[in-house]
């Protein structure tokens, strides 16, 4: 059933391309319909998921090479599929005001979504890689065509980084395929193959870093802020919300499960880079003048927690990392929605110093409220999903490397500082300034925006208060055969 998320997304992309020109409303409708249908399937499929790894479909594709068209899902896939569903719907709602080349926009958008669903559901290495590449291409066009500030540069940088990452991954995967005898690309079988220690030692960093580039691993993170800023709102939301998760997911699903001994060997180095990313991203966010850059760097910092969780290689840390992927997907989406759509499209500026003048807390109270909630969630306050996720990452990290946990604590602190700074500068102006230059009248917040913001706020709150909804899916995944290697290697 879950496979239909992929098919529906591509189908709606196809329909969109065939639509006659100028039918803007129809294009939006099809986009929303496709995204909604995908989300409904994602949620329904997740509810009905059986324990363990659930097979969805397995069709021989290139039998001579042992390649299958193989979809399956475990709790981790399902969590991220649900995240994609939410992000897809909300992204369409926040691109309601896209005016030029509407149908192309939504077509690219749906291809991207379909590719992402595909990555999360593929249990065949080759298939996974194909979907991973499919997701990269529309990203480039979405930014280069519909983007804003410095869009060609941002798109180019993102594409280059993605490509370097995929090249590294590809080399590693082919090596693994050849070494394992060249008979299968099935993830589960490869995970149980048991590569030699020496082999894992050099392949793991290649594959892990290749994927983690897309997750904003320091120092390969610089695509993220520029890419986020250049992208149109919905695409920033997807970039931060879902595409960065592709990298983290690949790092977990492929690099860690296939090469557990390599992961153990490189654990400290990765933990260190993650930790640097957390603090570094937060500090850089503290001095940004552009509102969107603040959020862009905050993504780097938050994704650092995902990577730190992955580096712990223990159950709590890993499940914390997956939960943080979900949590950050929702929260980053909300933050970008506020900055890019709700604020920028009305004020046409993202300079914190200029936003002062609009006195946004008065003129757009709903936006101010949304951003207060989003900041609270982003700061990792209890009650929101970020707290539970970061708590688990911290507990896991404390087991693996206490020093890094302490160091990352500083990141939490700076996180509060930059969030409050942005919040106060952008929304809560001082009245003297405001009375002199009363800003222009801003459009009221539209219905799609309200719905989108509500969905995201509800998601972060529900998971924050009752994390078992997701944890009961995520945690059992670590006892599947995929993680045998890690478990036997005295990890987990």
């Amino acid at each position: 059933m879950l496979a239909w998320t992929v098919y529906l997304s591509f189908a709606s992309a196809l329909v969109l391309m065939l639509l006659p020109k100028g039918r803007v409303d129809l294009a939006r409708g099809v986009g929303l319909g496709g995204a909604l249908a995908g989300a409904v399937v994602a949620f329904a499929g997740s509810m009905m998921k059986q324990p363990g790894i659930q097979e969805i479909c397995r069709i021989p594709w290139i039998p001579s090479l042992g390649i299958n068209f193989h979809f399956a899902a475990d709790g981790i896939s399902v969590t991220l599929v649900m995240l994609t569903g939410i992000a897809a719907v909300v992204g369409v709602l926040f691109s309601w005001n896209i005016g030029e080349r509407v149908k192309e926009f939504f077509a690219f958008y749906m291809v991207l979504i379909g590719g992402v669903y595909g990555v999360f559901l593929s249990f065949d290495l080759f298939l996974l890689f194909v979907f991973y590449e499919i997701a990269i291409i529309p990203k480039y066009f979405l930014i280069a065509i519909w983007g804003s500030t410095n869009r060609e540069y941002g798109a180019m940088k993102l594409a280059l980084y993605s490509f370097v990452g995929s090249a590294m991954v590809l080399v590693g995967l082919i090596a693994a395929y050849v070494v394992s005898g060249g008979t299968t690309t099935n993830l589960i079988e490869l995970a149980q193959f048991g590569f030699s220690k020496e082999f894992q030692y050099w392949v793991f960093p290649l594959v892990f870093v290749g994927f983690a580039i897309l997750a904003g691993l320091w120092p390969f993170h610089t695509w993220a802020p520029t890419g986020h800023v250049a992208a149109p709102t919905a695409v920033s939301m997807l970039l931060a919300g879902v595409v960065m998760k592709l990298g983290a997911y690949g790092a977990l699903r492929v690099a860690i499960t296939l090469f557990p001994l390599g992961a153990q060997a490189w654990q400290t180095e990765i933990g260190f880079l993650a930790c640097v990313g957390i603090v570094y991203g937060a500090l850089v966010a503290l001095v940004q003048r552009d509102f969107k850059f603040v959020i862009g760097y905050s993504s780097v910092s938050h994704m650092g927690f995902v990577l730190l969780g992955l580096a712990t290689l223990n159950e709590i840390g890993l499940s914390g990392a997956v939960l943080q992927m979900f949590s950050h997907g929702v929260i980053a989406g909300l933050l970008f929605a506020v900055v890019g759509r709700m604020v920028y499209d009305r004020t046409h500026t993202r300079e914190l110093a200029v936003l002062h003048r609009f006195n946004l807390s008065r003129s757009l109270p709903f936006v101010a409220l949304t951003f207060v909630v989003a900041s609270a969630a982003s700061m990792g306050l209890p009650g929101f999903s970020g707290f539970v996720a970061e708590l688990q990452v911290f507990i896991g990290a404390w087991r693996a490397f206490p020093v890094f946990a302490i160091f990352s604590g500083v990141g939490l602190l700076v996180g509060v500082a930059y969030t409050l700074r942005a919040l106060q500068k952008a929304f809560f102006a001082d009245p003297e300034l405001e009375t002199e230059t009363r800003g222009p009248v801003l459009d009221p917040i539209s219905m799609p925006e309200k719905c989108g913001a509500m969905i995201l706020m509800a998601a972060t709150l529900i998971i924050g208060l009752y994390p078992r909804l997701l944890l009961d899916l995520i945690v059992p995944s670590f006892s599947s055969p995929l993680f045998d290697g890690l478990r036997n290697g005295a990890g987990l």
């Binding site: 280059l160 490509f163 539970v388 106060q424 001082d430």
Partner: protein
Amino acid sequence: MNWFVKNLWLIPAIPLLAAGLIALVKQRERTFAVAVSIGGMAISFLFSMVVFLQTVWPDGLFRETYSFDWVQMGEATLRLGWVLDPLSACMVLMVTFVGGLIFIYSAGYMAADKNFTRFFCFLSLFAAAMLGLVISNSLLLLFVCWELVGVSSYLLIGFWYEKPSAAAAAKKAFITTRIGDIGFFIGLLWLYRETGTLLCYDGGNGCLEATALSKLVSIGTIGGMALSTAIGLLIFCGAMGKSGQFPLHVWLPDAMEGPTPVSALIHAATMVAAGVFLIARVYPLVAATPAVLHAGSDSPAAMVASAHHADAGSHEGSAEATVARTAVHGDESHGPGKVSPALRVVTWVGALTALFAALIAVGQNDIKRILAYSTVSQLGYMFMGIGVGGIGVGMFHLITHAFFKALLFLGAGSVIHGCHHEQDIRRMGGIGKFMPVTFAAYAVGMMALSGVPLLFSGFWSKDEILNAAWMWPVSKGPFLLGVLGAFLTAFYMTRQMCYVFFGAYRGGEAHADDVGHSADAEHSHGNGSPSESPAVMTWPLLILAFFAVVLGAFGTPVWPSFEGYLEGHGASFQFGKLFQPGTLGLMGFSTLVVFAGIAVSWWFYGLEPPTDPDATDAVEQRLPRAFVLLRDKFYVDELYAASVIRFNAATAWFFDLLDRQFLDGVVRGVSFVVTGFGWLTRLADEFVINLGFDQGCRGIRWSGARTSRVQGGRVQVYLRVLGVALVVIVLLFTWGGLG
């Protein structure tokens, strides 16, 4: 299980529900907001009263808990839960009672504010978080509520966010307390790692119970410090932040930018005391040392804490507790080795802060800032009390202080209200005539805070602390600091009283045009003289004043019922205790100190009240340099601005530069090389084409032009071709190899 224990969560849930309801209604529904929030608080208060009575009842329950799983990760679980024991029962009662009165007072104080409804929403939210904090049995739940309390404090300090100073103060408060919270958080992680639970009491498996404690004590860390000490100190970091202890005290005086009822509720009576409460809650951990653990079959604190189950006979209980008390108080037979290093740190930090903040209070002129520094100082006393005398001593001062400090703040609010939002005590004066009720209530609060003997609760609670400090086996230092602090407390409170309530009124017109015409005095009286506040504000004052007096009766050396209650044994009425060596002498001594403070201050300020608001302060005349140092708060803020904040900003700036110039430069460099390579290949193509393939060239040129239109896409395409070629080659090889 006791129904009330199981449903203890209702106490915080009702104010939370009230906050939610108020958040849903429109700003103009003022009556609804007031009714719902005060009503919610009243229900919580009644509930608290019932559970409190259950703990007071002879042979009543001592400690019952209720816990449930929150998150399960394999074999690791995180559990949450709540506990009903004397410590939590007395705290919920205090918070709901004082909180309720302050809610009522706010209805009058905030009546003119346009965001009245939002104010009550935040107040209720705060109450919910605070009540959740005090009942939680799980340190994780406590941390969660701890953070929520911080958020509501942020919201309320910044309530008048149009004032830049308020917005800055809110941010400062949040970040400063967060610094401590990071320590707290790390302490929790470490504790969880070692004990596998964050429940305080869990039928023998909790992290504050004997099994876990003896494990923690036996593990050594850096410098031979026991793990329990390390964790205790980390948790104390959190307490220092929240309770404004030096060096994290800087946020509390600035927090006075919030509305006065907020200062009374959050920054005097409840939230800032949460740090003290936290240390009282984890006292068994903080106080644990191998010597203590092995001396009794249990640590004194754990004994106090866990030995008395509901079914324990009262006789047995009191016997054990006596042992515990002697252990805590450190008889001759128990050397200073019994005092855990963590407890020493708590004591010294508390004692130093007590004196340090009292000194600063002397040099302040803002009525609320004086009280704020006084709060910092009194919180120091509480920590010192816990350090030297155990939870009974510290908590008693916490409770009495909550009443008289709330009284003082509300009184100050009433004065500010009456003086048309003037907060500078130099521009007040003679207000006793205009506001008799406020004056009377304020005087009670002032005497309770200064520790005027016999009648006032502050005397008894402070005396307990000084008494315990005198007996402290480690050092007499904290005692001396405490005595000095007591002298200064009496001094600055008398100074404030003289400035505010005695002499002639110095405000009004003179202030309005900021010149200081004393000739216009009569005119200003007619126009802007202060007036008494409405009944909705004065009644809470009177009720608090009543309690500021009577509460002392529960903590006299003769009948230390509060301590007995907290430690789980009944207090007996022992008149003879009064005549034990030291007790009476010490009481006489502290009385002397207090009267000395009042007398000196009266001599400075009372005999000839200042008449000109711009006159030099009496202390400044005598010790100008010292006074400036005090007025400028020992330059701690400036020190932070020059060190930590500047360092942080510089690092952030440097990283930003690194990101933009260096890392980005590398990327640009790589892309330049790649693009150059692309150009080379294209040139080669053209060269080859020019040699002869005229026909094919047109087609390729056309496509080349197409691709070059999308700038930058070219590189991607070339690279992709390379990638695909790589795939094909490798696949071919492997295929061949297989074949």
